[in-house]
Amino acid sequence: MAESPPVRQWRHEFVLIRRLIKARIRSDWQYRVSFIALMTSQAAFTALEFVTLLLILRLVPTIGGWTGAEVAMLYGLSALSFGVADMLFGSVERLSTYVQQGEFDRVLLRPVSPLLQLVALEFELRRAGKMVPPMLVLGWAVANVEIGWTPARALLLVAAVVSGSVIYAALWILSASVSFWAVASKEAANAFTYGGQFANEYPLHLYRNWIRVVLGWAIPLAFVAYVPVQSLLDAANPLGLPSWLVFTVPLVAAGTLASALTVWRTGIRHYQSTGS
């Protein structure tokens, strides 16, 4: 079989992934009521987190010196990035089930990247529900903050959403990779994905030192929302972030993704040497 040129190969894989995802959606649509109910509950969960934020705002004048609109933008940015990443890559967490039930072998027997297979085969459209509340909140925040919107600022916001999604996607891949070594520890990884996202909804300087370092810098979640929002809206800056930090966000995103993919590949090699 002749090797296709790279471009044709990618196009073919893209078509394949699209078809697999469509197949999966068709499969899920067979259980329509359940699908809608689950999608609604996904949206509701995310919305409740914002409601909690609002309830807190009733009790305090500012959250760590950040006003309501600034906090709303923080929530919107972090939850939206998370929602996008969750919809596209969240299904990778099913790896633990695949490994436990011996299904991962099947994945290895197909001539397609295992990562893309998991993404496509376990695609859950209902995860898109998570994007709705933050989109609305972000929209409201954009309309109600005091700064003037310039093209540069708008670009920064868009870049932040994209980079944030990439960072969360990397986190999903990283957390799923745990299953290659210790499948039962999968739940611990939730502390970083779901926990990280939860932490991100509040200004980073609220947290104690070690939480801040682990969930903000070591796992660079601060770059998803806190750094962009602080820079964009010139919000209170008790941590003393330099003004150029926000421009490193895309680099951090790329670097995090590269690390995650390396760990993933190492995980597969480990799986191949120890079996299931």
Binding site: V33, L38, F45, P61, A188, I211
Partner: protein, 263 residues
């Protein structure tokens, strides 16, 4: 009686085999406890006395409520629903033992393990980093214990009903999620109900979920005295009876309408 004990013990043992998974769960619970505690500490500081709870109380609330998660079934227990979907439930229905009691015994076995393995550790770990409040005087402890017992049983009662809905819906994940949703908000897991605006707190008081975490933790924090304590426990028990009754009614209806999906 012996039968229920055996069922419970088996369930306890089964839960205890997942050591690594349990440890991972404790880790995640504790992290979430730290996060919530940090936020609440700030709220206490910035909100002052007006909010109605001290920083110490709020932080305690954060960790103790994390400890509650597993014993009240916050994330659901789809085992019964799975059995309904696969048709295995017929075995349960033909057993010469009460189905609801069977599953309750099952639940308690597991909850007992989770109380030790996932209820206590987050609180202990939290105490190492924050100043936590403790029940005082001594007899608040047994009162709290009783409240926890009722809360856990209430968790069972609700999940039992949610699982039984699979008889009609087959795919009852929507119902399960709905329960988890309502539980997280109205049991005070996202934010103590004490911090809710008055109207929302009233809504919460009309729902059973508050009896699952909020009320027991209030007893833990000693926010009730004398007759009020009795009233709190009574509230919990009333909800328990109501939901167990609902579960029974659903069971009778379901047994009549056994739909088995197989193939």
């Amino acid at each position: 009686m012996r039968l229920w004990w055996e069922v419970g013990v088996r369930s306890f043992r089964r839960a205890s085999t997942y050591r690594l998974a349990t440890a991972s769960g404790v880790f995640t619970n504790t992290i979430f406890g730290y996060l919530r505690a940090s936020i609440l500490v700030f709220v206490a500081g910035a909100g002052g006395a007006a909010i109605g709870m001290t920083g110490e109380e709020l932080v305690t609330f954060a960790f103790v409520s994390q400890g509650f998660l597993m014993i009240i079934g916050a994330f659901g227990d789809p085992e019964l629903a799975d059995r309904i979907r696969s048709g295995d439930v017929v075995i349960d229905l033909y057993r010469p033992a009460d189905v609801q009691l069977w599953w309750m015994a099952n639940w308690f076995g597991r909850a007992a393990f989770q109380l030790l393995a996932r209820g206590l550790p987050p609180v202990v770990l939290g105490a190492m980093a924050f100043d936590l409040a403790w029940p005082d005087p001594w007899w608040h402890w047994p009162v709290f214990a009783l409240s926890v017992l009722v809360a856990s049983t209430l968790g069972f009662a609700i999940r039992f009903c949610a699982n039984l809905s699979a008889f009609w819906l087959l795919d009852n994940r929507g119902v399960d999620q709905m329960v988890t949703l309502l539980m997280s908000f109205f049991a005070g897991l996202l934010l103590p109900i004490t911090l809710f605006p008055a109207w929302l707190a009233r809504v919460a008081s009309l729902l059973p979920f508050a009896s699952m975490v909020q009320l027991p933790v209030e007893l833990y924090l000693g926010r009730h005295e004398g007759a009020a304590i009795v009233w709190v426990l009574t509230q919990q028990l009333l909800w328990l009876v109501a939901l167990l009754g609902l579960g029974r009614a659903l069971l009778v209806a379901a047994t009549r309408r056994v739909v088995i999906q197989g193939g």
